[in-house]
């Protein structure tokens, strides 16, 4: 009994920081509809700032003053991010802000490295709560109890703020219908900024409060990000009490999971989220999302046109130039551009489901990595030749997409995104933990092309043919009735059902197709590198693909190609600098602000400017 109570308390203490961060994210999303990837970074900054403040401020008062100070400092940083980075792009297409916040993550990572150095910092014990308390014969750290109380106090304070103050009521009103709130004369711009400040403040004190327990390090941002998203989704987007209950639920399950089934810990919360979403698609305390209410829809999309003669010429020229890479680029260029082509295919496959289908998947790496592992496992255990493995890689990924998609297409919007993320994470943890089969963290080595393609140049041409073939197939598919039906389902599911189309089936099959094409990219990747590791299935990989698609421009078929090329080449170019993340992050933010329609959107804009200039001259 004592053991169970002690575990329960540990879980609740762990939940404390998680709740603080998640409630901040939830408030920000609820009002601004921005999915703030950088929220984990705010949490990390809170820990670092509090650490520094505690070096200076002594004693009991100093400790709590440092936590408050950290919250205020991070709130201020959040405010700056909102004003400088997000304000200019609120009118951009839905979820475009993701890319900007991803840039912020990179910038903060390097800034934190610059200021606080690479070593993990160990937080001071909280003055007055250094010891342990005996509860039912078990030793429980006193600070755990403080953390639990702290979370409850914050919960009550937030409840008071949102239910008893004018500002709080406005925020709740904006969560339900921000257009109406702005029609009633509320300054939406100030409201957004204030909400961002509050959300960042909460993340900051979350990071600061957990300092005596967990310290501060440079991996904190990504480590908490997934858990925070899970908590927000289980609780229901925009619901504070939901975030509290979900944080408790997840943390307590996690603590018991460690004892009962240690292998479960990496995936437990994602399984819980998947189960909740299947039964309550909008979370425990959330409300059903109305179509079209999330995010600025951006300018309406133009009808697809067939490529003009000049367009075909450009495509042919690009392929021709790629074919000349081994001649002029040397070995380095050949390897680099093989990567570029593979990522173009990966990004184009995500764009098919995301741009054309309007289904934002956060877990597309499941199919890229799925294809890579399908090929690698076949080679490893069945001695499958490369040709067959490259054929089976998309089939394996497509099969995974069939199972995952069946669940996911029942949801939409952010909930669809989160469920795809959950499934991808489940797949990752299976691969990571099933060491006997997959080699776990050590990966699978020695997956090389067949004899005839073993020369890097020959393999490059294979990648060129299959990669561009895949991209062109995706493009052609967008013009078929199947692709049109998918686009129709995005534009108006109501209309599609009213003219006899099975929207979910069409979305499901499109998901499978997109997954299979990502699998082909993964298959090509594994033979290019000769090995595969679980990183190919990671969340970060899915995010890479998202960044490429959004950076390139969602509204154009050529967007993902431009985005993948620019992103891959920039990463390669900048990774030689010490603070490359800072450079890349700033560049991404600059691109996002300067070209709200993505790189391809900027191209279209320049073309129209150019042709107008021609007419007027």
């Amino acid at each position: 009994m004592g053991f169970i109570v002690a575990q329960l308390l540990t879980g609740m203490a762990n939940a404390s920081a998680l709740f603080l961060v998640a409630s901040g994210l939830s408030i920000i999303f609820g009002v601004t509809r921005v999915v703030n990837f950088a929220h984990g970074s705010f949490y990390m900054l809170g820990a670092f700032v509090a650490y520094s403040a505690m070096q200076v401020l002594p004693g009991f008062i100093g400790f709590w003053a440092s936590i408050l100070l950290a919250g205020l400092a991070v709130g201020l940083i959040g405010l700056i991010v909102e004003v400088c980075v997000l304000k200019p792009i609120y009118k951009s297409p839905e979820l475009y802000q993701l890319v900007a916040t991803f840039g912020v993550i990179l910038v903060i990572q390097d800034l934190a490295l610059l200021v606080w150095g690479p070593e993990d910092l160990i937080g001071k014990r909280a003055p007055g709560f250094e010891g342990v308390v005996m509860i039912l014969g078990e030793r429980v750290p006193a600070y755990d109890l403080v953390l639990i109380a702290f979370a409850v106090i914050v919960l009550c304070a937030l409840w008071y703020l949102f239910n008893r103050t004018r500002a709080g009521v406005l925020v709740r009103a904006a969560t339900q219908d921000r257009e109406m709130v702005s029609a009633l004369g509320v300054n939406q711009s100030i409201l957004f900024t204030a909400v961002f400040f509050l959300g960042s403040f909460l993340a900051g004190i979350g990071g600061a409060a957990q300092l005596p327990k967990g310290g501060a390090d440079l991996l904190m941002d990504f480590n908490i990000l997934a858990a925070v998203f899970v908590v927000v989704v289980i609780g229901g987007m925009g619901s504070i009490i939901g975030a509290f209950v979900a944080a408790m639920l997840i943390s307590i399950l996690q603590v018991f999971g460690v004892h009962l089934l240690p292998q479960s810990t990496l995936v437990l919360m994602f399984v819980v989220m998947a189960v909740v979403l299947v039964f309550r698609p909008w979370g425990l305390f959330g409300r059903e999302e109305q179509a079209g209410e999330h995010g600025g829809a951006g300018p309406p999309q133009e009808p697809l046109r067939e490529l003009s003669g000049r367009g075909r010429l450009v495509v042919a020229a690009v392929i021709g130039a790629l074919a000349l890479v081994p001649v002029f680029g040397g070995q380095f260029g050949t390897v680099l551009f093989a990567d570029v082509i593979i990522f173009c295919l990966f990004a184009a496959s995500l764009h098919y489901i995301l741009g054309i289908g309007g289904l934002v998947s956060f877990g597309h790496a499941a199919f890229y990595g799925g294809g890579a592992y399908t090929a690698a496992l076949l080679v490893q255990y069945a001695g499958t030749p490369m040709e067959l493995a490259l054929l089976l890689a998309p089939l394996g990924a497509g099969f995974a997409a069939m199972i995952i998609g069946w669940f996911c297409v029942r949801l939409s919007g952010v909930y669809f995104a989160m469920l795809t993320l959950a499934f991808a994470q489940v797949l990752w943890s299976i691969v990571f933990q099933w060491t006997d089969l997959t080699g776990g963290d050590d990966g699978i080595l020695g997956v090389w092309p067949s004899q005839w393609a073993s020369d890097p140049v020959v393999y490059y041409y294979l990648v060129l043919v299959l990669g561009t073939g895949g991209v062109l197939l995706l493009r052609a598919m967008a013009h078929t009735p199947f692709g049109y039906a998918l686009r129709g389902a995005r534009d108006s599911a109501l209309r599609s059902e009213a003219i006899g189309m099975n929207v979910q089936f069409i979305q499901w099959m499109s998901f499978v197709f997109a997954g299979a094409m990502a699998g082909l990219a993964g298959g090509l990747f594994v033979f290019a590198k000769g090995s595969v590791f679980p990183t190919e299935l990671e969340i970060a990989k899915s995010f890479d693909a998202l960044i490429m698609v959004f950076l390139g421009g969602v509204q154009s078929l050529s967007g993902p190609i431009a985005g993948a090329s620019v992103f891959t080449l920039l990463q390669d170019l900048l990774s030689r600098f010490e603070y490359w993340r800072l450079c890349l992050g700033l560049l991404i933010i600059a691109i996002v602000i300067l070209f709200p329609g993505g790189i391809a959107g900027a191209g279209n804009w320049m073309r129209s400017r150019f042709s107008r200039a021609e007419v007027s001259s």
């Binding site: 309406p300 199947f482 099975n502």
Partner: protein, 254 residues
């Protein structure tokens, strides 16, 4: 037996009885108006008939076939076309492509993964657009159309699979008065030519009295009156609902 037979349809949301015990018949070639003040339950009625909502009780038979429990896409396959109060069209496609999609779906080609969708059934789509007077806008982007044109496009889409019954929820809302009458005249012609049965809701009484063969009056979910437009117009209960029955204006005053 009539072509469309609706019996004892009922639906409540929480404590609100949105539709209560509604029964009516609709014959082929008949243009039946469903009218009533705001909140009378007209749109709910439509959503029940088209499978967007499931009724608490009641039956809807089309040519003897029970429609309750079928999804909208199945109901469409049984020859029912629909236009929406707030237009539902594909904004990222051209006007003609919107109609083509309905034709593609009718031909069972919506998951065909080869060939260009924009080449399929284009001629038939153009002739449907011609029918509603939209042929000159066929290749414009749908997202730039005026609202009245969107309504006409919806009519063309609804006609695509030669429906036997059309459900039109406020087909003329948002149009200029002259356009309204023109659109309903067009609809009336189509009804006469093709023998389609049409059930429509409408707020514009000019449109109703000019073209409807019969009218149903709903109030607070209940069927208040039914009959020819003249009968309905003369009905005291209907006048009370529309003009207010002395609850707001004192009777002794004037």
């Amino acid at each position: 037996m009539s072509f469309l037979q609706v019996r004892n349809l009922a639906k409540s949301f929480g404590g609100v009885q949105a539709v209560a015990d509604v029964s009516f018949d609709l014959g082929k070639g008949e243009l039946l108006a469903l009218i009533g003040p705001n909140g009378a339950g007209k749109s709910t009625c439509f959503n029940l008939l088209y499978g967007n909502l499931r009724p608490d009780s009641g039956s809807v038979k089309l040519d003897g076939l029970e429609l309750i429990g079928l999804k909208p896409r199945r109901i469409w396959r049984h020859g029912v076309g629909r236009t929406f109060q707030i237009t539902a069209t594909y904004g990222s496609m051209s006007v003609v492509e919107n109609v083509q999609m309905a034709l593609i779906s009718d031909a069972g080609q919506s998951i065909r993964a080869y060939g260009r969708a924009s080449n399929l059934h284009r001629d038939k789509a153009l002739s449907l657009l011609d029918l509603v007077g939209m042929a000159d806008q066929a290749d414009r982007a749908t997202n730039v159309l005026a609202y009245g044109d969107l309504k006409r496009l919806e009519l063309a889409i609804a006609l695509a699979h030669d429906p036997k019954l059309m459900l039109m929820d406020e087909p003329t809302a948002g149009m200029a008065p002259r356009e309204r009458l023109a659109l309903m005249a067009l609809t009336a012609n189509i009804v006469a030519d093709r023998g389609v049965a049409v059930l429509f809701t409408e707020h514009d009484m000019d449109v109703v009295f000019e073209h409807a063969h019969r009218a149903l009056v709903l109030n607070r979910g209940k069927l208040l009156a039914e009959g020819s437009v003249d009968e309905v117009r003369a009905n005291a209960a209907v006048q009370e609902v529309y003009l207010g029955g002395g609850t707001t204006f004192g009777e002794g005053g004037a």
